[in-house]
C-alpha cells in the first residue's frame, strides 16, 4: 500500500510529541515531512530559563536530535517557514519557494510573543522571549549593556529577569497588574514573591503602564517612558506581556480561527484533513500554554491520525508548579476562590510559607502554595478526581506525606535535599543522578525515571520524592497521574479500571480473549500486565477462567520465594501461629535432610527454611507434610494472634481460635496484593492489629474490626470499621470486606490504597449497611475458595506440574 503523506508545520514540543505517539502506534502509515522555522531540532522550550541563567547549555535541552528524525525517515526541513497552505491542491509552500503535498496536515505553529503596540517597539534591543534566538540575544546584550527592563510580571517575565540578573544586568520588571503572577497566584502569595525577589536584587514597578520606548539616536532603545511621565534607562527591553496563538497561516487559508485555530475533540480544524495542536490551537475556547495538556492533545491527535479514532480530548484541568530563583510556587484549579467557595489558609510570612486551599461543597477546587509545595501533586490529584474531602478536612492543610517512612532519612521534601543525598535507598540513587537523567534524556514521567535510574523501581517508598524532583525539574510538563488514570502498562492504553470492567461486562475468561478484545498492542503482554490480567480473570470468573501459571511471576509459579542466588525459601503454614512437637520435628528433619543453610522465625509467626534448591522443593513439601503458607503470593499471608483468654490473665476473648478459624476461612485466597490479618484478645493488642489489612481486637463485649492498616513501606494505621458481638460475625464481615477488595481493587493495590481511592463510606455501604450484599459477598468468596487446592499438595502429586521443578540433566545430552 502506498503511504499517506503527513506534513507538519512547526517543529516544537507538542508537534514532535504527536509524531512520537503516532510512530509508536502506526510506524508505517505515513511519509512524514516537517517544516521548522528555527534552524534547530526539537528542544525543551521550558528549559530556556536555565539556559539563560547559565545552568544548562543549549545542547542539553535538545529533546530529539537530528539522528532521531533520520532514524524515522522524517524529511526535516529546518530554517524554512511555511507561508501558504494551498488547500485545493493539498500542498504547503515555504518561504524559499519549496513545497510539499499532504494527505494530512498538522499545524503546530505554537505562539508568538505579544508585542505592545507602542512607539519604539521596533527599535534594536527590543525583543520577545520565546525561543533560543531570543535567549542568545539576551545573553549577548548582558555582555555589553547594563540596564534591562522586562515588561510583564508573569512567569516568563520573571524568569527572564532572573536570568538577566544572574548575568550581571540591573533589571527592572514592569507589570500592569496589582501583583506578580496574577494568573497563577493570589495577592498575598504575589506580594510574598515580590518581597523575596526584591531581596535578591530585582526592581519592580507596578502597577505601571508603558507608554513609549525611546531611541538613543542610533536606532537602539535607551529608555522606557511610562504613562505617568517617569523615564527609566533601558539598553535591553524584553517584552514578556503574554503570548498569542500563531494562527496567521491558518487564517490566510480560510480555516476558522478565534484566538487560536479552532479544533474539535479529535484536534481537527474546520478542514478535517488539517489538524492543529499545541499553543496555536483553541479547544472549547481555551488555548493551552502548559506542556501537560499539550501532551494529552498529542496522544489524542496521534490516535486519530493513526486511524484508530477512539480517543477524545475533552480539555484539561491545569496546574502551575514553578520555581523562580529557588522559590517554589504552586497553584491549581480555582485558587482565587469566589462565590460559593470556602478557603482554608495557612500563613507564615516570616518562615516564607503561605498556603491557601479553596473548597466548594466538600470538594477541593483550588490550591495556591508558596514556599512549601511538596504536597502540590497530592492537592492537584484531589482537584482532578473531585474527591470528597469532608472526612480529611481537618488535616487537609497539612497535606499527605506521600513518601514512605523509611529509606530516605525521613526526608519528605525533595526541595530541601542536596544533590548528593540518597533518594532511593534500595538502589542507591542520589537526587543529582535523577535530575541529570531527567535533563539529559528529556524525561517527563516517574515511570521513565524508574527505567533510566532504577530510583523508585524496587520498594517504591521514594516514588513521592522522585515525583517531587520531576516536578521541580520540568515544572508543568511533568506527567503525574494517579494509578486510576494511568494505562495499565505500555501494552495497552486502558486503565486498570477499564480492564476490570471489560472483563466483567464482556464475560472474558481467557488471557488471549481478553487481549484480543481489548486490542492489546503486544502479542502476549509483558511482566506487568500479564499477572494483572490473570488475577482479574480468575477473581472475576472463578471456576470459568483458568489460571495461567506462565502469567504469574516466579514466586507464585514455584510457590516459594526466590532468593538472590536463585535458591528458594519455604514457609509452611502454621494456623494462627500455633504449632506442635510433631510439626517441629518434621521441620527439623527437613532442615537436616536438605542441608538447609538457615532456619528463621518470620514476622508472621511461622518458620522459614531458606536456601532450598528449586528441584528439591517438591521433596521438601512432601517431607514437611504441612500446607503452603503462601508467604510468596499476592494472597492471604497469615493471621497473627496473641495467646488470648485461654492462657493470658488479661485476655477477654479467644483470639487464637478466631485467628485459626479466619486463616482456614481464607486459605488459598488470591488477592490484588498481599493480605495480612491479626487478632488480639484485648486492647493491649499484642498481635499488633493496628497495622494489618484487617485488625481485630477483642473487648469484653465483643470484637472491634479495623481495616486498611499497613506496616511496610509507609506505616498506615488501620481505621475503625465496625464493632461486632460474635466470632461468627467477625468471620462473615471479614470475608465480605476481602471479597469486595478482591472484586474492586486494582492489581498491586493494598487495602489502604484501595480504601483511599474508593472511600470508607463506599465500603461501609457495601458491607455494613446492606446485609443481603454482605452475605452475597461472603458467599462469593466461599465459592471461589472452594475451587482452590493446596498448591504444594497438587505439585507433589501431579507429574505435569512437577515438570516446572525438574532440570534437564547433562547426561541426557547426546549428539543428534
Amino acid at each position: 500500500m502506498k503511504k499517506l503523506k503527513l506534513v507538519m508545520v512547526g517543529n516544537g514540543m507538542a508537534g514532535v510529541r504527536t509524531l512520537e505517539e503516532l510512530l509508536k502506534i502506526a510506524p508505517d502509515l505515513y511519509d512524514i515531512t516537517v517544516f521548522g522555522a528555527e534552524p534547530h531540532p526539537n528542544y525543551n522550550r521550558i528549559l530556556l530559563s536555565p539556559v539563560l541563567a547559565g545552568e544548562q547549555t543549549f545542547e542539553e535541552i535538545i529533546l530529539n536530535d537530528l539522528d532521531w528524525y533520520a532514524k524515522h525517515d522524517i524529511d526535516l526541513r529546518l530554517g524554512r517557514k511555511v507561508v501558504q497552505i494551498d488547500r485545493r491542491n493539498r500542498r504547503v509552500v515555504a518561504d524559499d519557494g519549496s513545497s510539499a503535498e499532504y494527505d494530512r496536515l498538522l499545524l503546530a505553529t505554537g505562539s508568538l510573543p505579544f508585542i505592545l503596540p507602542i512607539p519604539g517597539k521596533d527599535l534594536q534591543g527590543v525583543i520577545g522571549y520565546r525561543d533560543i534566538a531570543d535567549t542568545l540575544a539576551m545573553m549577548d546584550a548582558a555582555k555589553q549593556y547594563k540596564h534591562a527592563v522586562v515588561i510583564g510580571g508573569g512567569l516568563l517575565g520573571l524568569e527572564a529577569a532572573n536570568g538577566l540578573k544572574l548575568r550581571g544586568m540591573d533589571v527592572s520588571v514592569v507589570h500592569i497588574g496589582d501583583w506578580l503572577l496574577e494568573r497563577q497566584l493570589d495577592r498575598t502569595a504575589g506580594a510574598l514573591l515580590q518581597q523575596s525577589l526584591e531581596q535578591r536584587g530585582l526592581n519592580f514597578l507596578l502597577p505601571k503602564h508603558t507608554a513609549e520606548l525611546l531611541d538613543n539616536g542610533d536606532g537602539r532603545v535607551c529608555a522606557v517612558k511610562f504613562k505617568d511621565g517617569e523615564v527609566i534607562p533601558a539598553d535591553l527591553v524584553v517584552m514578556a506581556a503574554g503570548i498569542r496563538p500563531n494562527s496567521e497561516l491558518a487564517e490566510q487559508a480560510g480555516i476558522a480561527c478565534n484566538r487560536g485555530i479552532l479544533v474539535n475533540d479529535t484536534l481537527q480544524t474546520y478542514d478535517p484533513r488539517i489538524y492543529a495542536i499545541g499553543e496555536c490551537a483553541s479547544h472549547r475556547g481555551i488555548a493551552y500554554g502548559l506542556v501537560a495538556p499539550l501532551f494529552e492533545q498529542a496522544k489524542v491527535c496521534a490516535n486519530h491520525l493513526a486511524q484508530l479514532g477512539f480517543a477524545r480530548y475533552q480539555g484539561s484541568v491545569t496546574s502551575t508548579k514553578l520555581k523562580v530563583t529557588g522559590i517554589d510556587l504552586f497553584s491549581a484549579g480555582e485558587f482565587m476562590g469566589g462565590e460559593g467557595t470556602e478557603t482554608i489558609t495557612l500563613s507564615d510570612p516570616i518562615g516564607g510559607v503561605y498556603k491557601k486551599l479553596v473548597l466548594k461543597d466538600d470538594v477541593l477546587v483550588g490550591a495556591c502554595l508558596y514556599g512549601d509545595t511538596a504536597d502540590g501533586g497530592w492537592y492537584f490529584r484531589q482537584i482532578r478526581e473531585q474527591a470528597n474531602v469532608a472526612a480529611i478536612r481537618d488535616h487537609l492543610m497539612f497535606g499527605e506525606s506521600t513518601t514512605g517512612d523509611v529509606g530516605h532519612q525521613g526526608q519528605s521534601s525533595a526541595a530541601n535535599m542536596p544533590d548528593s543525598m540518597e533518594v532511593c535507598g534500595c538502589n542507591g540513587v542520589c537526587k543529582g543522578t535523577i535530575v541529570k537523567a531527567i535533563q539529559e534524556n528529556g524525561l517527563f514521567s516517574v515511570d521513565e525515571i524508574k527505567k533510566h535510574t532504577k530510583a523508585g523501581s524496587s520498594c517504591g517508598s521514594c516514588v513521592g520524592l522522585v515525583e517531587q524532583i520531576l516536578i521541580s525539574t520540568v515544572g508543568g510538563a511533568a506527567d503525574v497521574k494517579p494509578k486510576s488514570e494511568k494505562a495499565i502498562c505500555g501494552c495497552s492504553e486502558l486503565t486498570h479500571g477499564q480492564v476490570r470492567k471489560a472483563i466483567r461486562d464482556h464475560h472474558l475468561t481467557s488471557l488471549s480473549d481478553a487481549m484480543t478484545f481489548m486490542d492489546w498492542q503486544t502479542p502476549n503482554g509483558c511482566a506487568t500486565c500479564r499477572p494483572a490480567l490473570n488475577y482479574y480473570l480468575i477473581s472475576t470468573w472463578p471456576g470459568e477462567a483458568k489460571d495461567d501459571p506462565q502469567s504469574r511471576l516466579i514466586n507464585e509459579r514455584a510457590h516459594a520465594n526466590i532468593q538472590k542466588d536463585g535458591t528458594y525459601s519455604v514457609v509452611p503454614r502454621m494456623w494462627g501461629g500455633v504449632t506442635n512437637p510433631s510439626e517441629l520435628r518434621r521441620i527439623a528433619d527437613v532442615a537436616d535432610k536438605y542441608h538447609v543453610p538457615m532456619v528463621k522465625v518470620t514476622g508472621g509467626q511461622r518458620i522459614d527454611l531458606l536456601g532450598i534448591k528449586k528441584e528439591d522443593l517438591p521433596g521438601v513439601w512432601k517431607d514437611l507434610d504441612m500446607p503452603s503458607g503462601h508467604a510468596y503470593g499476592k494472597s492471604i499471608r497469615t493471621v497473627k494472634t496473641c495467646v488470648g483468654s485461654e492462657f493470658c490473665r488479661f485476655g477477654t476473648q479467644n483470639s487464637t481460635q478466631l485467628g485459626i478459624d479466619l486463616e482456614h476461612d481464607l486459605f488459598n485466597m488470591w488477592s490484588p496484593h498481599k493480605v495480612k490479618l491479626a487478632v488480639s484478645g484485648c486492647p493491649r493488642n499484642c498481635a499488633e492489629a493496628g497495622i494489618k489489612d484487617i485488625g481485630i481486637i477483642g473487648v469484653d463485649s465483643g470484637w472491634e474490626l479495623y481495616i486498611g492498616g499497613n506496616g511496610g513501606i509507609k506505616t498506615e494505621v488501620a481505621e475503625f470499621f465496625v464493632k461486632l458481638k460474635s466470632a461468627e460475625e467477625v468471620r462473615e464481615y471479614s470475608a465480605a470486606f476481602l471479597q469486595l477488595y478482591r472484586e474492586e481493587a486494582f492489581y498491586l493495590e493494598r487495602t489502604v490504597h484501595y480504601m483511599q481511592r474508593v472511600g470508607m463510606e463506599h465500603i461501609k455501604k457495601a458491607v455494613l449497611e446492606d446485609e443481603v450484599n454482605r452475605k452475597a459477598l461472603a458467599e462469593r468468596l466461599r465459592y471461589a475458595l472452594s475451587l482452590e487446592q493446596d498448591p504444594w499438595q497438587e505439585r507433589i502429586h501431579s507429574p505435569a506440574l512437577k515438570k516446572e521443578f525438574e532440570r534437564i540433566p547433562v547426561t541426557q545430552l547426546e549428539t543428534a
Binding site: 503482554g525 500479564r530 509459579r557 532440570r807 545430552l813
Partner: protein
C-alpha cells in the same frame, strides 16, 4: 555445528522455559508463543539472576530478580539497561529441541 538433542518441544510450556545442566553451566531454554526456542546462559547480566525463572513475553524475558528485560534473540538487555546474557544456538526439528554449545556470532558478547 554440533547440535544436541535436549527434549521434546512439549516438555517446555509455551511462554515457559527449562534449565539444561550443561558442561558450560546452566542454560535456560525458552519457548515463545509461536513455538520458537531460544537459549541463553541462565544468568542475568545485572546481578546473575536465573533468567529461566523469568516471565517470557514476545521475544523477551523479564528477569525475576530486578525486572531487567533481556532479548531472547541476541541476549542483550533492553535500553536503557546494558549488558548481555550469552546466547547459544537453539532450534526445533521434528518436535525435538536442539541446542548447540558453540559460541554464537550474533551474540553481543563476541
Amino acid at each position: 555445528m554440533n547440535w544436541m538433542d535436549i527434549c521434546a518441544l512439549d516438555e517446555i510450556n509455551p511462554l515457559g522455559s527449562r534449565i539444561v545442566a550443561s558442561s558450560k553451566g546452566d542454560i535456560a531454554i525458552f519457548r515463545t508463543a509461536d513455538d520458537q526456542v531460544f537459549a541463553l546462559r541462565d544468568r542475568c547480566p545485572h546481578k546473575g539472576g536465573p533468567l529461566s525463572q523469568g516471565l517470557v513475553h514476545g521475544k523477551q524475558v523479564t528477569c525475576p530478580l530486578h525486572s531487567w528485560q533481556i532479548s531472547l534473540e541476541n541476549g542483550e538487555a533492553l535500553a536503557p539497561d546494558e549488558g548481555c546474557a550469552h546466547k547459544y544456538p537453539a532450534k526445533v526439528e521434528n518436535g525435538r529441541v536442539l541446542l548447540c554449545l558453540e559460541k554464537q556470532r550474533d551474540c553481543a558478547c563476541h
